[in-house]
Each structure stands twice: as structure tokens, then as C-alpha cells.
């Protein structure tokens, strides 16, 4: 399963990064969100670390919706989805490949968002950077496992972005709260709460397991 998944991820990344238009659009949307939120404070007024962490994850979520919508759009034309569904690989490979490609793209965007949060919202890192990276990675794995499943669920619809947003946002609340709380701790240098990371890891595990079972039902050749 891993070999085909890596090949699908590599194929998707090549297609998405060709011209980098999709990635640039996603990063730009996230930057705009951070900039717009920075307007909610008077010039010179300090943004609380909790709010800054929430804005960072909000940008990530919107980026995530665009990324997974785009990844599943790649197979919409010329019956490519049917081809991929009929190929002699485990259907879960498609889910994993898309999740890995999406994870890579979202991580790229988050590098830009982190710099923007530091610049626009005046945040620094007083706590452990390693914990911050671990938090981002674990939360992103949870988001990607569900994002890839939801992307397949909304594929084939013209209004897939809005549909994905409505379905995706309420479901990811637990992992979102974890990400916000741990990043706040990393920014302020206070207690980040490792138990929050536990909730994020549980979320990633539950939805990865659910996706492995449910994806073959969702991703078929039927229109």
C-alpha cells in the first residue's frame, strides 16, 4: 500500500507544483486571513498568544480545504477517477497518497503562515520549538487523514469547496483546540499541555482508522 501511495503523492505534488499556481493561491488566502485578523487590533496593540495561535490554525484550515479540493479535482477530467479506482492497488493507497501530498503542501503553506503570524501579529517563540513542530505535525496528520477522506466525499461536486468547509470545520474542532492550546504554550513559554497532544494524536488515530475502512466505499468508479 505504501509504494502506490508514495507514487500517487509524487504524481499529485508534481501536478500541483507545476507552475505553483495552486500552492500560491492557497498561501495567499492564508496570508490574507492573517492580515485581515491583524486589523482587528489597534496599531501597536498586542495580540494575545491564544488569538494568534487560533488565527494560524484558521489560515491552515482554509488552506487545507483548498488543497484537498484541488488534489481530488486532478482526477475529475477524462474519467481519470475511474482509472485510478480500477487500478490494481488497494483503494486506501489513494487516500494515503492524497493525504501525504496534502500534508506536504499544507506544511509548505504553514512555513509562510508562521512567518506572517510573527510579522503581522508580533509573536515569537518563548517555549520549545521542538514541541511546536511536533504539535504542528501531529495536528496536521489528523487534519490530513480527515481532509483526504472528506475531499473524496465531496469530489465531483461543483460547489465542493463550500461543501467541504461546512462538513470539515465542525468535525475538526477537537484537533483544532489541541493545536491552538499547544501553540499558545509554545509562544508564551508556559505549560503547553502534553495531554492536548494526546487528544490530537487520538484524533489522528481514530480518523486514520475510520478512513482506512470507509475510503473503499467512497472512492469508486461510480459517478
Amino acid at each position: 500500500m505504501l509504494g502506490p501511495a508514495l507514487r500517487i503523492a509524487a504524481k499529485d505534488l508534481r501536478l500541483c507544483l507545476r507552475g505553483a499556481q495552486g500552492l500560491a493561491q492557497t498561501a495567499l488566502l492564508g496570508l490574507l486571513i492573517i492580515f485581515v485578523f491583524s486589523l482587528s487590533r489597534k496599531p501597536g496593540e498586542e495580540v494575545p498568544a491564544l488569538a494568534a495561535a487560533a488565527i494560524f490554525w484558521l489560515s491552515t484550515l482554509f488552506a487545507q480545504v483548498l488543497v484537498y479540493s484541488g488534489l481530488y479535482t486532478l482526477e475529475e477530467g477524462n474519467g481519470s477517477r475511474l482509472g485510478l479506482a480500477m487500478s490494481p492497488i488497494a483503494p486506501q493507497s489513494v487516500w494515503l497518497g492524497k493525504a501525504l501530498a496534502g500534508l506536504t503542501l499544507v506544511l509548505c503553506c504553514q512555513v509562510v503562515f508562521a512567518v506572517a503570524v510573527a510579522a503581522f501579529l508580533g509573536q515569537g517563540v518563548a517555549g520549545s520549538p521542538a514541541l511546536g513542530l511536533a504539535c504542528v505535525l501531529i495536528v496536521d496528520v489528523g487534519l490530513s487523514s480527515l481532509g483526504s477522506l472528506m475531499g473524496a466525499l465531496a469530489s465531483g461536486k461543483t460547489s465542493r469547496e463550500s461543501l467541504l468547509t461546512v462538513i470539515f470545520f465542525p468535525l475538526i474542532i477537537p484537533v483544532l483546540l489541541s493545536g491552538i492550546r499547544v501553540l499558545e504554550g509554545v509562544v508564551t513559554g508556559g505549560d503547553a499541555g502534553l495531554d492536548w497532544l494526546g487528544i490530537a494524536a487520538a484524533f489522528a488515530a481514530v480518523f486514520s482508522a475510520a478512513a482506512l475502512i470507509l475510503f473503499p466505499f467512497i472512492y469508486t468508479g461510480e459517478e
Binding site: L153, P170, L171, I173, P174, I199, L214, E223
Partner: protein, 220 residues
């Protein structure tokens, strides 16, 4: 079946009103506004039961591939969203004179609100016709995923707001015997009403599906 259930529900709800307004005493500190509790709690419990039915029916859709389970899941979800919404509204009406706030970030309230969002999205998904031919399976997948989210939402909401009113915790144990009887009667009456609505709505969805199939057959 539906008519019989509806008739029993009407009698049971009327009986429950007698228990609420005549049999159960007026609560000393909260006064008459506490009576809303006899509607609020059954609604929230039957809303959660509806979401459990959505989950079970979704699993059955995946296993049995029978559309009747999809229709039952749809009917249960509609009821769940309606009952959860009414539970949130009645909770707010109850909370305002007691705690002086319309809303408090209690884990149970937060969980109910988030579940309301999730299942409202599920209903939008049903209406949007997502998935085409594989629609029932796609909806079933979301029905399973949504239910798996419930414990995670509850735990994270509880951790997020560690200070919450303890009124909820004391409620169950501190009830007068008459109040307990009234809430149990109300719970049973609301349950019969819920079952009648579920039966009616799933039948309606079945009939709508049958009519659609007849038209599709004629067009072909």
C-alpha cells in the same frame, strides 16, 4: 403503525403535562422556570439517541447496501437536529434567569452545539445530492465519521473550559422523587413522540423515493 404511535404520543404528552404542572412541585430556588427542565432534558436525550440511530443505520447501509437504512438515517438526523436545536434554545431560556447568561461554555452545551453543526452539515450534504449514484454510501461514511467525533469533541470541550457550572452535575442526584417521576414520564412521552415522528418521516422519504423511481423509469 405511525397513526397508533402518534395517538399514544398525544395521550402520553398530555399525561406528561399533568405530571409537570400538577404532580411535580415547584423548585424552591429556581421557581416555575425550572419546569422547562422537563422538556429540555428529554429533547437533548432523544437528540443524542437520534444521532446514535444515524450511526447504526449508516453502518447498516455500508454492510447491507439497502436504501431503507439510508432513509431511516436521514429521518433520524432531521429529528436529531430539530431536537438538539430545541434543547439548545430551551436551555438558553432556562439559563438566562438562573445564571443571567444566554450561553455558557459548558462541555455538554458545547458538545451539543458542535454536534448540531455536524449533523446540520450532514443534512445539507443529503440535500445537495452529493455522491450521485453512490450517495447513500457517501452519506453513510459521514454518518459514521460524525458519531466517532462525539467523544473527542466532549473531551476537548471539557479540557478547553475547565471551569463550568456544577449545576448540571448536581441535577440528577438532587431531584425530589416527584420530580424524578415527572422527568421519567416526560422522557417516555417524548420518546413515543420521537418514534412516531421517525416512523412518519422515514415513510415519507420512502414514498418520495418510490415516486422518483417511477418518474425515472418513465423517462428511461
Amino acid at each position: 403503525m405511525t397513526a397508533v404511535l402518534a395517538a399514544i404520543a398525544a395521550v402520553a404528552l398530555a399525561t406528561a403535562q399533568w405530571f409537570i404542572w400538577v404532580y411535580a412541585p415547584v423548585e424552591e430556588t429556581m421557581g416555575v422556570v425550572q419546569k422547562i427542565f422537563y422538556v429540555h432534558l428529554p429533547m437533548s436525550i432523544w437528540a443524542m439517541a437520534s444521532f446514535l440511530v444515524v450511526f447504526v443505520c449508516s453502518v447498516m447501509v455500508l454492510v447491507k447496501k439497502d436504501d431503507k437504512w439510508d432513509r431511516l438515517a436521514g429521518a433520524a438526523c432531521e429529528l436529531g437536529v430539530l431536537f438538539a436545536g430545541l434543547a439548545l434554545v430551551t436551555g438558553s431560556i432556562w439559563g438566562k434567569p438562573i445564571w443571567n447568561v444566554w450561553w455558557t461554555w459548558d462541555p455538554r452545551l458545547t458538545t451539543t452545539l458542535i454536534m448540531w453543526f455536524v449533523y446540520a452539515a450532514y443534512l445539507i450534504l443529503r440535500q445537495s445530492g452529493v455522491g450521485g449514484e453512490r450517495g447513500p454510501v457517501v452519506r453513510a461514511a459521514l454518518g459514521v465519521v460524525a458519531f466517532l467525533d462525539v467523544p473527542l469533541v466532549f473531551f476537548s470541550a471539557r479540557k478547553w473550559r475547565s471551569i463550568h457550572p456544577t449545576v448540571f452535575g448536581a441535577q440528577g442526584g438532587g431531584l425530589e422523587p416527584e420530580m424524578l417521576t415527572a422527568i421519567l414520564v416526560s422522557l417516555a412521552a417524548m420518546g413515543i413522540f420521537w418514534a412516531a415522528l421517525l416512523s412518519l418521516r422515514s415513510r415519507q422519504l420512502g414514498q418520495a423515493s418510490a415516486i422518483r423511481n417511477v418518474f425515472l423509469h418513465q423517462v428511461r
